[in-house]
């Protein structure tokens, strides 16, 4: 049976993990390679690395980091942040990344999804969508949620699928950081609307929230950052909890 995926997300700046991390005794918790290996050992199903470096120069170090991660870990991982073109993606995939996620650049230039899926295949392309509720509609926001856009969540997700995205990573800006649970209603609607997998993101505070995202929200995967990084939820315990709540997981 296909299992639901648990995905820790790591923010990377200038080659180092950004948020404080204290879930496990690491020699160097700022080293993304060490941290990735620890998560893989704990049973994470995939990893996401988001490069939030400010300059193109600093981003070049990211490809080197991707190579180090790929050499070390034996589970799939996605990289994202600052991808604007086919040329940006090739070195990341050649370094061993399994998928790339695109967000603001796709909102600005939707043809980027077509170009990337034709060049590398749909399975390489994760369309990340940040959205928040605005006058009863889920409005898409860009640049980490800072800027508004003219796109709406459901039509944009559908367009992304038609243009060749292989997965949708939906982050509810209304839930992100609240620890009150994932946004279940839009997840349900996305699941009815799309035939590609959906990754839920934003709002994870406890194990029950993950169970909800899978059973009620019908998400195929769930992503979180701080609850894992700060050791509030251990991945082995989370997976046991999910199994006891009849959610299929890899143990």
């Amino acid at each position: 049976m296909l299992t639901k995926r648990i995905i820790p997300c790591l923010d990377i700046k200038d080659g180092r993990t950004v948020k404080g991390i204290n879930f496990i005794d690491l020699r160097d918790a700022g080293d993304p390679v060490e941290l990735a290996a620890a998560y893989a050992d704990q049973g994470a199903d995939e990893l996401v690395f988001l490069d939030i470096s400010a300059t193109n120069e600093k981003r070049k170090t990211f490809a080197d980091l991707v190579k180090k991660i790929a050499a070390r870990i034996n589970i799939p991982f996605t990289v994202g942040g600052g991808i604007n073109s086919v040329e940006d993606v090739a070195p990341l995939l050649e370094s061993g990344a399994d998928k790339v996620s695109i967000n603001s650049a796709a909102v600005k230039n939707p043809e980027l999804i077509d170009a990337l899926s034709q060049a590398f295949g749909s399975q390489f392309i994760v369309l990340a969508i940040d959205a928040g509720k605005q006058e009863n509609q889920w409005a898409v926001r860009t640049h980490g949620g800072k800027l508004p856009s003219d796109k709406k969540l459901f039509s944009w997700a559908k367009e992304g699928q038609e243009r060749g995205a292989g997965e949708i990573l939906f982050t509810s800006m209304d839930n992100d950081g609240t620890k009150n649970g994932f946004a279940i209603d839009p997840l349900q609607k996305l699941n009815e609307l799309l035939t590609i997998p959906i990754i839920a993101s934003g709002g994870a505070g406890n194990s029950f929230h993950f169970a909800e995202a899978f059973t009620l929200g019908k998400a195929d995967a769930a992503l979180a950052a701080s609850v894992f990084h700060f050791g509030e939820i251990g991945i082995p315990q989370l997976k046991l909890f999910l199994k006891n709540h009849h959610v299929p997981v890899r143990l």
Binding site: L2, T3, N74, S122, L194, T195, I196, P197, D220, R250
Partner: protein, 191 residues
């Protein structure tokens, strides 16, 4: 390992390095023919990949190999007779047609994630039954007489196969944690 435009060559190479295996990535026919074992990786689209292989006559080289050969993902699909992906004639080592999953809300396509191996036999034996491996694919090979492991999605399909010296897996052993390493070792350790 056969060098061509496959998307996962780097990942397979890293997996072999973690297993301390001596390997070379090459498209030189003589080197491929002299290797103890050959790995034929694959991520991409069937018709363009077959065209690429045919232009370099690598398809005939692969068909003619007599040492153990492992096809991974698209590599496995191209070892079949035909793929429905853009109606592509393939290498016909396995006399099978590669089909596309029918998507519905309970079965997303691509089939992405960790799914279990069942009915394991032949070279996929040895504690691998019910173990999880990582899949990313929209097309599949139906269960047939050469199937060495089955996985269930919209219907049961071939997760692994073997015919004589030709071994194949639909999943990605290079991304399937310890279980994937065991599958690679099962292939590498067979005479």
């Amino acid at each position: 390992m056969i060098k061509y435009n496959a998307g996962n060559i780097r990942s397979v190479a890293f997996a072999l390095e973690r297993l301390s295996v001596d390997f070379e990535i090459t498209d030189e026919v003589e080197k491929i023919q002299k290797a103890d074992k050959v790995i034929f990786p694959g991520v991409g689209e069937a018709s363009s990949t077959m065209r690429y292989l045919k232009e370099r006559k690598l398809d005939q080289v692969i068909i003619g190999l007599t040492q153990p050969v492992l096809g991974i993902c698209l590599g496995m699909q191209l070892m079949c007779a035909h793929s429905d992906e853009n109606n592509t004639a393939c290498m016909a080592i396995f006399d099978e047609t590669v089909k596309r999953f029918n998507a519905d809300t309970a079965h997303k396509v691509p089939h992405i994630g960790w799914n279990s191996l069942i009915d394991t036999r032949d070279w996929i034996e040895g504690g691998l039954n019910d173990q999880f491996v990582y899949f990313v694919h929209s097309y599949y090979v139906p269960v047939n007489e050469f199937t060495s492991a089955v996985t269930d999605y919209t219907e049961p399909f071939s997760a692994a196969m073997r015919k004589n010296n030709f071994y194949a897996v639909q999943f990605h052993p290079e991304k399937s944690a310890k279980i994937g390493e065991q599958v690679l070792l099962n292939f590498l350790n067979r005479a």
